[in-house]
């Protein structure tokens, strides 16, 4: 039962949820519903006012930082970098949790970085300065950095922001595949149409609570969508929404 107040506002009010290995979970809700705050609590970046987060049965705040980083990877919403690192340099930072302080890059680190870049189709621009990359390319580099950690649990905050349709769909399929391979994946996104067909559960945050936690077809019922988002949903028309495939 996790609660968090930011300033005068209680953002999270007794949220309970879990992500198991092999699951792809979509976290949705209105702007300001507390999705990013919840993700930050889940990675231990901020301490909840009440309740706690457990990773493998152990409080997340009691994990050693590097040990935790080897288990949980995170892609934040804002990934702006003020200096001109190359894409590959940024993805290589994902190997930090695996390396000792003075340890140079090992063959397995180089391989993990290459694999992450390949999975995100980012090899072509990996040697360019990140500042010259488009928003979508920067996003793919950020996701590749999270994958380079080889963590078992992936938390992603709006990972498809700025991505074109092809790469957004590729990412969703990749996340599904990672879940099928045994990773736990939690994605905060407004893109319900894109993620819902691929995920196992949808958690809807509303009034600071995990109001709905069900499989997608039940979670995104007409009543739930109207109550949580304040909009009416319609049966698909001939043109919209379309089902996208690669």
């Amino acid at each position: 039962m996790l609660s968090k107040q930011l300033g005068q506002k209680t953002v999270l009010h007794g949220v309970t949820m879990q992500v198991a290995p092999g699951e792809l979970v979509l976290l949705a809700g209105r702007n300001g519903a507390g999705k990013s705050t919840l993700l930050r609590c889940l990675i231990g970046a901020i301490e909840p006012d009440a309740g706690g987060v457990q990773l493998d049965g152990k409080p997340i705040l009691s994990w050693q930082p590097k040990a935790r980083a080897r288990e949980v990877a995170f892609v934040p919403q804002d990934t702006e970098v003020p200096f001109e690192f190359t894409g590959r340099e940024l993805v290589t930072m994902g190997r930090h949790p695996h390396r000792g302080r003075s340890e140079t890059l090992r063959a397995e680190d180089v391989a993990a970085v290459a694999r992450a870049l390949q999975l995100l189709d980012a090899e072509a621009f990996s040697e360019r300065s990140v500042i010259t990359l488009s928003g979508g390319e920067q996003r793919r580099i950020a996701v590749a950095r999270a994958l380079a950690t080889e963590a078992r649990l992936l938390l992603l905050d709006e990972p498809t922001n700025n991505l074109d349709l092809e790469h957004a769909l590729q990412l969703v399929v990749l996340l599904r595949r990672l879940a099928d391979e045994g990773h736990g994946v939690l994605v905060a996104s407004h893109d319900l149409n894109l993620f819902a067909p691929h995920c196992d559960r949808v958690v809807l945050l509303h009034n600071g609570r995990a109001d709905v936690d069900q499989p997608p077809e039940e979670a995104l019922s007409r009543q739930n969508v109207e109550r949580v988002f304040g909009v009416r949903s319609h049966q698909p028309t001939k043109f919209f929404p379309r089902e996208f495939r690669l």
């Binding site: 949980v72 934040p76 702006e80 003020p82 001109e84 340099e89 930072m93």
Partner: protein
Amino acid sequence: MKRKLPFFLVAVLVGVAVLHLSFSRVSPGFSTLLEWMFAWTGATDAVTEPDQFVFASIRTPRMLVAVFGGAALALAGTVMQASFRNPLASPDIIGTAAGAAFGGAVAIVNDWSQVSVLFTPLAALVGAVGVTSLVFVLAGSHGRFSVTNLLLAGVALNTLFGALTSFVVTMALSNYLASSEVLFWLMGGLDNRTWDHALITAGGFVLFTMMVLPRVRELDLLTLRDDSAHSLGVDAAKARRYLVWCACGLTATTVANSGGIAFVGLIVPHLARLMVGPAHRLLLPTAALLGAILMVVSDLGCRVAPAHWNLRLGVVTAIAGAPYFLYLLARQRRGEQL
């Protein structure tokens, strides 16, 4: 090529250091320097005692203070820019140098160096850490430091501690020697540096650099958002505090021994990034070497300038650095990355 650059810069530094030792308005000159340097091999005749005194006790410590002081200021600027995720952060912009100057001035007018040569650097360190702590409080918001907040806090604290330093100097006006010493010191300069100054500057540089080097990858990670750094196993707030305190130490030991040296900590990291990119494993040695070269060349300029100019080192670095700072601001106005 990038990886070989530090070796090239070492060669340049050795070259300018030799020039620094040999060029002056007065003799001894280059040929005597060579004789002095190679006298121990027996290949050359021993130099006269006065010449030996000039090289061993006057010019060498001065050159070493320039080398280690310039390297320390450049490292301090590089560490601060990464730690604050802000290319305009540097000891003289955010007030660290002003705090160190205030602490140093208090120590000089009270003649604390008579008690121990370490007292002036320690007072400078207390001033630097104190002012930087205020920057953390005034400019930080949830661990983030915007350009605007840093510059506003820097302007406020530079003005405040500049005024306090002036107040300390005016209070000491009755003591002409002490007040003139502080005034000259505030303008930055390496006159009359002894082996004590050289050892303290070198010691501070080695100590704080050794504290920074094991955390070099954390500097890279701090340039990401705090949440990203945290998710990669770095406690961003803790790492930032530790590294900025190290930068304060580098600044304080230099300011205590060289006075106010403007802009080295700001412009050298930018020059180094242009040469080798932002990854700190290569950036730190490059910045340190460039800082040392800049400081040695600037001091050489002071030494060969006409004596009646009384040209101060801080004046030379400011004249070189201010236009570059304005260029950076112009770039940022155009929306370009710094």
